[in-house]
């Protein structure tokens, strides 16, 4: 009867776990506005694919060479889990990038269309007033050199 431990470590599964942790970290770390944030987003996707790949390889080894590698059950659990997480990531990617183009928006050199909108106190404010400096911003007394219009999605 065999009593000695003849198994090799299922390195692919262990590597998968390490990369899974990195993948999760890159998913949940608050995305500060840092340089290279676009790169980080792609890195997150790559880590997700790598995680799944490592688990699939580790699972296959455990299935095909059961005398040599352990980890069938863990392999299945991690493969299903990382598939689900990768699916979420891909969906998040699609949702974040599937936005209309701004091809028809005012370009550099064109005039910014004037407007009149209400501020947080209900007062109506126009772009021409903002540019002329005739609307008092909190704490400022000088006519601004320019106005930075920041359109955001809202619902925050």
């Amino acid at each position: 009867m065999q009593t000695s431990n003849i198994y090799e470590p299922n390195r692919s599964l262990w590597a998968g776990i390490v990369v899974l942790v990195l993948f999760l970290l890159s998913s949940v770390l608050p995305f500060r506005e840092v340089p290279g944030k676009e790169a980080l987003i792609w890195l997150n996707l790559v880590l997700g694919v790598l995680t799944l790949g490592l688990f699939v390889v580790g699972l296959r080894r455990a299935i095909r060479q059961p005398q040599r590698y352990r980890g069938k059950i863990a392999g299945w659990i991690f493969t299903v889990l990382s598939s689900f997480l990768l699916l979420l990531t891909v969906f998040g990617f699609y949702a974040s990038r599937h936005i209309p183009s701004a091809n028809a928006a005012p370009k550099v050199g064109q005039k910014a269309p004037d407007f009149e909108l209400k501020d947080t106190s209900g007062q109506t404010v126009s772009l021409s007033q903002l540019l002329a400096g005739t609307i008092d911003p909190p704490g400022a007394v000088v006519k601004p050199k320019g106005v930075l219009l920041i359109f955001y999605r809202g619902y925050w």
């Binding site: 944030k37 936005i99 370009k107 550099v108 005039k111 910014a112 903002l130 609307i135 320019g146 619902y155």
Partner: protein
């Protein structure tokens, strides 16, 4: 350079946001998306309940009303950084 943020949020919602986040700059409300459409940056149905909203966009406008810099992200998770915007604003005479 004066920052002015615009969204479909009502003045009440914007006021709450400004209070929570400590914003002191102007927040304007465009609930019917008239201005968003005028700037051609509408995102139809982009809001959580299918409401029309703006896609993210920044325009630096000089004192003559001319656009001097624009930023249109391809990914809503990536926005222009404050130092980028300040650098562009510093170029205005």
């Amino acid at each position: 350079m004066r920052p002015v943020a615009i969204s479909v949020d009502s003045p009440e919602v914007s006021r709450n946001l400004a209070q929570k986040a400590g914003y002191t700059f102007t927040l304007l409300s465009d609930p019917d998306t008239h201005v968003i459409r005028r700037y051609q940056i509408l995102h139809p149905g982009g809001g959580p309940d299918g409401h029309d909203i703006a896609r993210p966009a920044e325009f630096l406008v000089d004192s003559s009303g001319t656009v001097r810099w624009t930023n249109f992200t391809e990914d809503i998770r990536v926005r222009a950084r404050a130092d980028e915007m300040l650098a562009e604003a510093a170029k205005l005479k």
